[in-house]
Structure formats: structure tokens, C-alpha cells
Amino acid sequence: MITLQSSDKDVFEIEQSILIQSGTIKNMVEDDFTFIPLPSVDTETLIKIIEYMKKHADKTDSKEKNIKEFDKDFMKKTLNELFALVFAANYLHISSLLELLYPSIADRIKDKITEAIRQIFSIRCDFTPEEERRIIMDNKWAHEGTEIEGTLD
């Protein structure tokens, strides 16, 4: 059993066999660590990560359909939560979770207007209004005919 500690100082005891899905944890376990502090992952996110790893630890064929359903439901979270998961899964090197997250997030943001995307990624616009107008003109086709929305979730 390995003990994980979140940034909020909550501890979780989990079987080693489940945790090795995380490349980072696997390396530390191989170096004989049994207590692993994770200062970049808060409790709430860590709980979800553990839930994911538990579900994916048992990969027998009969469970495959269940796993797919689980993955689909697992992605039904706010963008906030998904970003926190991306960050944690990247730090923990859980590639299967990352490969699930990237297209799911892309799917969530694909219909959003430019300004919403800036807010979501915390990006400052470095175009002048004229430049921005020009870019929109050049790619006019992408703006025609679609319902675009401005929520940030």
C-alpha cells in the first residue's frame, strides 16, 4: 500500500498495483518510496484521479464496455475540473487519462467565441483590433454558418 498526500494535506492509502498507471508514482515506488507527497494536486482532483485509476486498473475484456461508459461520464465535468485534471495527469504522467482529456476539452471549447477562449486559457490578446479584424476576414468561412456561444464552462 502506498500513501499519497494532496496539497491540502489529506492522505490516501491505495494499492500499489493501481497507482503504477501513473508514471511519476511508479518511478517513486521503484525507488522504494511508500509515502508520496503531491504538492501540485489538491484533494478534490486527487480523489478523481484515484477514481480513474481504480476503474482502469482492471482491464479485462468484459469490463471494456463499462470502462468506455465510465470514461464518457467521467468527462462530464466543468472546464475548471477538466483543466485541473489535465494539469494533475500531466504531472503524474497518466497518459491514458491525458489522451481522454485532450479531445474532450477540445470538444467543449470548439463552439466558443474567441473572447471566451481567451478567458478560458488566460490569454491576453496581442493583436490590434485592425489585425484581429483582418484575421477574421481571412478566415471568414470558419465564422459563417455556425452557432457560437460565449459561456466559459
Binding site: N80, A106, I113, I136, W141, E147, G150
Partner: protein, 454 residues
Amino acid sequence: MEAFHHAPISFHFPYSFPIPTPTTNFLGTITTPNSSSINGINTWMDSRIWSRLPHRLIDRIIAFLPPPAFFRARAVCKRFYGLLYSSHFLELYLQVSPQRHWFIFFKQRLPRNNIYKNNSTNLGSSVEGYMFDPDNLSWYRLSFALIPQGFSPVSSSGGLICFVSDESGSKNILLCNPLVGSIIPLPPTLRPRLFPSIGLTITNSSIDLAVAGDDLISPYAVKNLTTESFHIDGNGFYSIWGTTSTLPRLCSFESGKMVHVQGRFYCMNFSPFSVLSYDIGTNNWCKIQAPMRRFLRSPSLVEGNGKLVLVAAVEKSKLNVPRSLRLWALQDCGTMWVEIERMPQQLYLQFAELENGQGFNCVGHGEYVVIMIKNNSDKALLFDFCKKRWLWIPPCPFVGNSNNNNNIDYGGSSNNCCGEFGGGELHGFGYDPRLAAPIGALLDQLTLPFQSFN
């Protein structure tokens, strides 16, 4: 940009940012944020996490955006704008971006009796393509302004669209990626032809093209005699119109289209109906009998989930078989067909009434088949192999209003259309919109002398 507030509590609730008036008209309708979120609890985004999301991760998310979203995202900031030109990003994109089973349609050009109006009336109206996304039932208008006059679109593969010169003689060929505006010319074919049938298949590391039939045996006589093929691949094998092969006798290529399935090109042969099959590897043609060939009407060939599928209306007037529209798949043996789907009878009655014996065209891509009624105002069907679902497609909003760019009504209901499929009937092919086609680099090595088409 407004500063974000940091809240000491967690942030689970959806947050709607009240967007100020839109800056441009091009963005279409903007749905108002969910009213419950405006009045309800506001949460504050934790910008600590979000601003820490490294570029590398953001890029991976962007690589999964469908092309319209990607091109809209280019206006976000200079870094996003430049991703299209970043070889590092494109490499990532080519690795992870999924295949999209979309379509592209073009207005049917003038009939093939070679009567060309003086192009002064067409000045300024360059070729337009109408891209269709069957997942979301949405249409986009793509401009092909860089394609010179005198070329028509004939096929598409690997994200590129193939244009062939209209004029009879040796044929000039252009491969175009409309999303980035690139054009790659191919060396012209060798034998003079009128309107040959073209087969094209492009992968990340190879290209195969076959040009068949309509040999000009004299300036005014045409016969289906030979096929020329073009091949280049990353392993260094190439064949530039070097191989020709003879066609089976008495074949007709009326549809002009060849469909690629697993290393072969197929096209429909008329009177009597049969299917011609061209093996790309061995450059050989053979004929395949069509199922129920005496009772078919309007047959078309499409690629469906890796198999060759024949779509046709069946009319068996003598026997007690109801009229229907059926789909058959060619089995692996290469000669037997199995019926895999039939249009539900209720729907077929509707369809037959609209179609009225005029015939229909079909195009397929992946799990989707689009059936377009000829000469009809605005009706086309979409069939999804996986979901076994038939849907009427909302008409293309850009057709029928081509001179009136600002007045496009998208409407809510597809029954209340002002766009048209017909009157300028649409024809098209499966199209997978890609940001980049690696085959371009291989073709650049051909180093053709510069050709001006004006």
C-alpha cells in the same frame, strides 16, 4: 482584460461571463448564456491553475479542434495564429488529429457538350466549395480563388482536392488544400483525353492517381481505351504516367468518378450495369457483375467503412417486390455482393415522391452516405452506417443565394429553407479537412518547371 478575483472557496458552478456586444458581424448568432447562471451563483475561475497550463498542453488540446474551430481560434493570439506554420505543431497534429468523415460539394459545371460561354459573365465568381459536417449537420463555404479558370474539381483524398483541366488534350492536374490555400501542380498526363475518369488516393506517405478513358483517337472521336497511372511514395518508388493499361472492351465511364477501397479503384459501368475494378498495384482492370443488375436504377458506388458499397433503387415490376432503395457491400472475395441495408419503406415513399424518377447521386465517406436527388430544390438524405439512421440534411445555405452574401438566413427549421441543392445541382466527394498534407513535401521533389495557366 478584467482581472479575476480569487475566491477562498472552491469553484464548482458553471460561470457565465457577460459578453459585451460582439465586435464583428461575422460571428453568426451568439447564444445567450444560460439564464440560471447569470442570476445564480457566480464563481471565480482560479486563474492560478489556468495560467499555469503550459503551452505544450494547450497545443495538444488545440490539435484536436475541428478545422472551423481551429481557424476561429487563430484570432485568439499571435501564438495560436502561428501554429498553422509551426512544423512542431503540425507534426503533433498529424499524429493525433482524428480522421473526419466530412464532405465537400461543388456546383455542377456546364454540361459536357463543351459549350463555354465567354467567361466575362463569370469574372470574379471563382470556384466555391461547400463543406458539410455530417456530425453537426453544418455547412461551410470554402473559397478556391487561387484555382485558375478552366479547371474542375474531380476527386478528393488525404485533405487535398484534385482539379483537372477542362480542355481536351493532355490533362493538367492541381492538388489543392483550400484551408491553407496551397496548390501543388502535377506533371500533365501524356495521352490526349476529353473527360477522363479520375481515381485518387493519398496517404501521409504516398499518392496514387489513375486517369482512365475518353481517349481522343482523333480530334473529334473519343473511345475508352487506356489508363495512365501516377504513383509516388516515401520509399522512393515512383511512376509518373509511365504505365498505361488497357480498359476492358465496351466499357462506359459515364459517372466519371472512381471510388477507392483498399488498393483498388472502382467505377460504375453502364448498359448493362456492372462494376469496373482497377488494381492499383498490378495496373489491371476487371469487371464485376452488379447485384440485381436488370432491376437497378440510378446506381452509384461509395466507400462505406472500408468496403465498396453499391447504392441503387430497385424496381422489380414483374415480381411482387416492393420498390426500394438498397445498399449492397462487395464481399472480400471480390465478386459477391450482400445486401446490407434498405431504406425504411415509409421513408422511401417520401423519397420516391420527391425524386419522381429523376435519379439521384450518392457519395460516401466512412460511416456516412449522402444521397442527393437530381434536379430537386433542397432535398438530400444522410445515412449513418453505425447508427443505422436516416436524416434529411438541412439544405446548403450558400447555394441559390450566391450573389447575396449578407443575407443568408440559417433559420431554425430545415423545412423552411431558402437555400437550394439544385438549379446548379451539387456534386461532391468525401473530404477530410486537414491543416497539412505531408505528401506535399514528396511532390515538391518533382521540381516541375513553372507553369502559368493564365
